[in-house]
Amino acid sequence: MTIDHVLTLLLVVPAFGLLPLYLYRSDPRAVKQVAVVTTLVELVLSLAMVAQFKVGEADFQLVEKAAWLPSLGIRYLVGVDGVSVLLVPMTTLLTFISVLYSSGGAIKDRIASFMAAFLILEIGMVGVFVSLDLFLFYVMFELMLVPMYLIIGIWGGTRRIYATLKFVIFTLAGSLVMLVGIVAVWLASGPEGSRTLSLPDLLLVRDRFPAEFQFWVFLAFGLAFAIKLPMFPFHTWLPDAHVEAPTAGSIILAGVLLKAGGYGFLRFALPLFPTGTQLWLPVIIVLSVIAILYGAAVSTVQKDLKKLVAYSSVAHMGFVTLGIFVLNPQGAVGAVLQMLNHGFVTGALFLFVGIQYERTHRRVIADLGGLANHWPLYTTFFGVFVLASLGLPGLNGFVGEFLVIVGTFQFGGVPLGGLFWGPLAAIGVILAAVYLLWMFGRVMYGPAREHYAMLPDLSPIEVVCALPLLLLTVALGVFPQPAIAIIQPSLDRILRLALDPTWQVAVR
């Protein structure tokens, strides 16, 4: 069965949930049902979208277009290729889990507004991954901002207002600079009357972008993506935002929002500005390795459980940028897999930190301990995700990081070459094992503590939330080949576009 206009449907289904949410706003039960059903429909729809995707093709599929601002050559243009097709179901799955978990009692105040924010957020997140027009992409990129701002600011922890303003100001600073870059690209795309912001059209005229122009425009785009990702040294908003966000907010923030940065590099920055990529590549490689080592080192000394997971994200996203910018197939595939894996695993880690916090009301590692005695089920799940996060072979975290490191070893560019950066990145993996296992030992093991004895183990709803993530973690770890087969062709095309500035490709 094929569904027509499936990508547009994906963008409007969450909006349909808003009206019943408003009508039943005073009835928390109905609100929860509406939100869960809407995100479930969205999840099923995204899986149907993947089923319609033809594996092995590099080009965009399921493309839909319509005029939007015709006099400016701006179109509504959506489509997916191998790079984005898996990120969409990842988004819908994590949103569904967040909504389901939050409806289990984690959010008590103003639940209708909370769910509405999540549905709008979902439109933005799916939109970012399917937009093929820079204007549309920017709109979607920013659409994610306000709901997340409200989610952190209203339902967050004690320092939520500082955290949420910092998050918004950082992100907005990056994206407004990108807006100037987008307009510059539009002006450079041709003479008046034939200007465009559609990626397929821009790819045909990208040889008109001179080197100096690419240098600055890549900087404008790269700044937005680097802040979103976040890359060292733009990461300082992340620990604050993650720590203060409610559990569902942290899951989405880590699981999906950070990916928008890495995805933006792959989708727009690399193919459109090959020369700019080469000019900025050394800087990004160095910053990525710093992020890996710095993130790991800082995680090691964290006293706060949530902050530890947050800083580990900085390290993990370092692997994503490293993998992308070594510009070879292994690194790039590793980077995309790392984005997916980090979504599932870190999303799950935040979920479990949240579950734990909701019961014990403690997040400082030193206050916890001996939880394994009371919560066997929790310990099992949490243990698997911790092992996946540190890159244990057989679980998904290993595949991405391994491929990135292999790619880094083959990297021949400046400065210093892959044989220097590869081992450094590998040290990051070892450090991850140190801080994650150390944390796990201190939180879960040790003598049983009396006052935790009465706290219940995972509830059925929490198991339902965690189980799909667990299955994906194992499946992608043991058998990553189907995912790689989907990703590879499109990624090869992006790499060729990035490496060969003169290559012309006619895309849909």
């Binding site: 601002l69 006099s71 920013e142 306000v146 600011g153 600079v177 100037v180 307009v183 002006l187």
Partner: protein, 489 residues
Amino acid sequence: MNDIVAITPELFVLLTAGAVIVADALLSRAAARTWLPIIVTVGLLAALFAPNGLAPYPSQAALRSYGVFFGGFVQVDAFTNFFRALFIILALFGTLVAPTYLARKQVPAGEYYATLLFSSLGAMTITLATDLITLFVGLELMTIPVYVLAGIQRRDRFSNEAALKYFLLGAFSSALLVYGFAWLFGITGSTRYSDIANVLRTTGLANGQTIIALSLITVGLGFKAAVVPFHQWTPDAYDGAPTPATAFMSVAPKAAAFAAILRVLVSAMGPLAVDWSAVFAALAAITMTTGNVVALVQTNTKRMLAYSSIAHTGYILAAVAAVSAGTASGAAVLFYVFAYGLMNLGAFACLLYIDLEGTRGATLDELNGFSRREPFGALAFAVFLISLTGIPPTVGFVAKFLVIQPVLDAGYVWLAVVLALNAVLAAFYYLRVVVHMYMYDAESGAPALIPSRLLSLSLGISALAVVLLGIVPNTLYQWALGAAAPILP
């Protein structure tokens, strides 16, 4: 006869103003409060849909109505119609949000509506002008009622201060403007835009006299639009005036000032564009930065919005400076002015929910917990603030996008970057209001709320328009493009 038909919308507004004065004299005070807004609404809607077509884009009827009338003193074209429609919409909006506030503060209703209508009439006259004399009549007809509006709350000392400051500086700027017009007449021998343009095309900026004329006119119009460093009257006037009056006067006179800037500087003095555009670019950067930086430290929402409206002048001025980009520059000005009108009037009007002493607006702390106490008003306020920040999917974002585009095209890359960074500054203080409304809980001493259905209805419609125009901006943009064409072909 043709002459009279050409100005049908203006006549309707004038008749409505007359009807308001007569009705105010005949009706009892209570009846007047009920009936006057209805009379104004009907009159303005009649003007909006007048037979001579203010239809969104040039319909056949509208095209037929274009031309030069009254012996060349008045011109009707797409530009005129765009602004006529905008001013009528703003006057309508300014009327609908007011009744509850006027009743509560014992502001005389008849005077309020009549001055508002006369001011709108003046603003519409500005866009009709093809001649410096018509323009000046329009400018004065627009601003003098606004002085009255600012001071209409006679017993409030801030309202008095606002009116006096606005009047003194406004009169001063008008004097400068007339002096500039006089110089221009002396140089070119005509007050007609087209003749002025023809003479300047041959002479250029050859002599000191032209520089004097240009500077005086720039300063005079800069006062009206609140360009830094001619903005000093703005915060006190906006802050002290009764809030519905502030909402109106923060948008309509500014829009009219930009209409005048486009007609005089861009159209009539267009041959000098190369000389003044760099100055305007610098003024734009100073204006937006000053407005935003000062707004950043305000704790009173009304004053904060007053400074932020200065910043918006800067954004619009940036598009004016990009005149060498052609029609796109004019269209950006028009689109921004329209968007600004809707969202800024709406933002000020949202303060009307709160019952405050005197005329001055709510402090940030008084807005705490606003979202729980008045969920709908808070949502509308948040939408306007997000739009003013320039975050999609709102019309404010599209407006910023459209401004950046000619600015880059004209080669002012630095100005585009300054604009983007300014938007970040603005985000900080706009979103801080959202923080107070949504993320803090109300304290016991919070001022009472005055719920008003009419206010909620008009804010709801305009907030919806702000979002819808952000998602489907094409119609408005086409209209703006068409309207900018007569100015900047």
